[in-house]
Symmetry: C2
Subunit: 294 residues, 2 copies
């Protein structure tokens, strides 16, 4: 059952291979991510996040005073509110709170530090609405997880208050691509391969920015003082090492870390929660984690 569900997602991905142009890639990710629609009972609202597009969601019986702010994945070059809507809205339901999805600026049109700065804009927007830091959870998948960690590091460096916790799905934490699972998982991962990531890094990083810069590769950041982290990754993805090494580095720096490794799943699998039981269970765990720490 679960196996055939993930096979269906694999078939969907295979039926829409990744094209070459950035516009085409963005269209494809929106298409793949939104193939199963948002649940009828979720209320959506467009939000002007200090000039940046955002979207708020709330499911029935959720707490409006607490917020999960979410940075979507897509390698800093694609992904959107549309592609991740089903995942973000269901995460909010599981956490029992409001969400705010952020349409940060994308490379190559807007290279680093555009997205990195936009994550701070989103944070300030919420704080300026009077929401206490401890009532905000920060989430992200893939490149978006990198933005989430980058934001927390920036707040920590500025000695500002930090979010109550962070939730990271299939995080991309090392832009040098030194993880051993790029080789060992290459054949089973239908989405993320080294050559593609090199292309993304070239688009995202301006000349002169080190790929080990902790603002873009959180694996090399000092994670001291970080709030509790839930890291969810899976067995059939090349970024497995990026997640387990992040867990090690964060834990060694005295952050409370929970790492979950999900069998048979593929990169950012909670995207397809509508027809993937393991996606729903991962979101349920994330929701429980966020509720426990906010």
């Amino acid at each position: 059952m679960a196996q055939s569900e993930i096979d269906n997602v694999r078939a969907l991905l295979q039926s829409k291979p990744r094209p070459v142009g950035w516009a085409e890639r963005r269209h494809r990710l929106d298409d793949i991510g939104s193939v199963w629609p948002v649940a009828d009972d979720v209320k959506l609202e467009t939000v002007d996040v200090d000039g940046m597009p955002g979207e708020s969601s709330i499911a029935p019986n959720s707490d409006f005073s607490r917020v999960l702010v979410f940075f979507h994945g897509g390698g800093y070059c694609s992904g959107s509110i549309v592609s991740h809507r089903r995942m973000v809205t269901e995460a909010g339901r599981a956490a029992g709170m409001r969400t705010l999805a952020i349409a940060y600026r994308l490379a190559p049109e807007h290279p680093f530090p555009a997205a990195y700065d936009d994550s701070l804009t989103a944070w300030r927007f919420l704080r300026n609405q009077g929401i206490p830091a401890e009532c905000i959870a920060v989430g992200g998948d893939s490149a978006g997880a990198g933005l989430a960690i980058g934001l927390i590091g920036r707040l920590r460096d500025a000695r500002e208050e930090l979010p109550g916790c962070a939730w990271l799905v299939s995080p991309w934490t090392d832009l040098t691509m030194s993880g051993s699972t790029f080789a060992s998982k290459d054949a089973v991962d239908p989405i993320i391969h080294k050559e593609y990531l090199y292309e993304l890094v070239d688009a995202y990083l301006p000349a002169g920015v080190d790929r080990k810069d902790p603002r873009v590769s959180p694996l090399y950041a000092d994670l001291t003082g970080f709030p509790p982290l839930l890291i969810q990754v899976c067995s059939a993805e090349t970024l497995l090492d990026d997640a387990t090494r992040l867990a090690n580095v964060a834990g060694a720096a005295d952050a409370a870390v929970t790492l979950e490794i999900w069998p048979q799943m593929i990169h950012a699998w909670p995207l397809w929660n509508a027809h993937l039981e393991a996606g729903r269970r991962a979101l349920a765990n994330a929701g429980a984690f966020i509720r426990a720490h906010l």
Copy 2:
């Protein structure tokens, strides 16, 4: 509060430095582990585990038909039912089931494969009582976690039924001591240092057994087909890398893995749960995990 609690445990350890002889070391570990007694409401019973000493425990309102079988730590050379009684009995309470603690044979008197064989004896003893494999959880800390993984690997190789899940605290998974945290955590770990572990390996492994043998170093084992694993480790221990690398290897082999890294704690901290809130919380998580998978 939590900080002063762990400082008290550190002071206890410092007040009783590890002596040289094996008998003295065993006495010390019994002493340190049992400094806080077992709760009054736990029923203990001596069990003859096919000739091997064992102890069963059950807390009020627990299920007698399900069992957590536990292999204590102590580097294969020390540790006992006495040293780990408080930890095992409270784990049973948290899991809501009976426990069976095993006094497997210790090195240097009984080198490998004595303990490895004794773990199988314990398993067969429970199975021969008619307890279904899926009603048994296997647990262990430090070297005992190595025995737990070794047992599962052996059952898997023999195509036998496997336990419902495994719970591993501060697991020692690599007898080659290749983890990077032996260096980075040496100054903050009050218990486990490389020189001590080399001494243990010399006592445990007969000539001719490779330190990377998967029966003694589960980090190098094939973990395919393993049941769900909960791995709990902490930030102030040299074995942090042994745990995070095990998580990676098990997850890559399609086991469902949950890894928790606990800030500020020290090796096998749930031993001192009587006066350590983080020890009680870790046992509560372990109990919830075991209940969910049995």
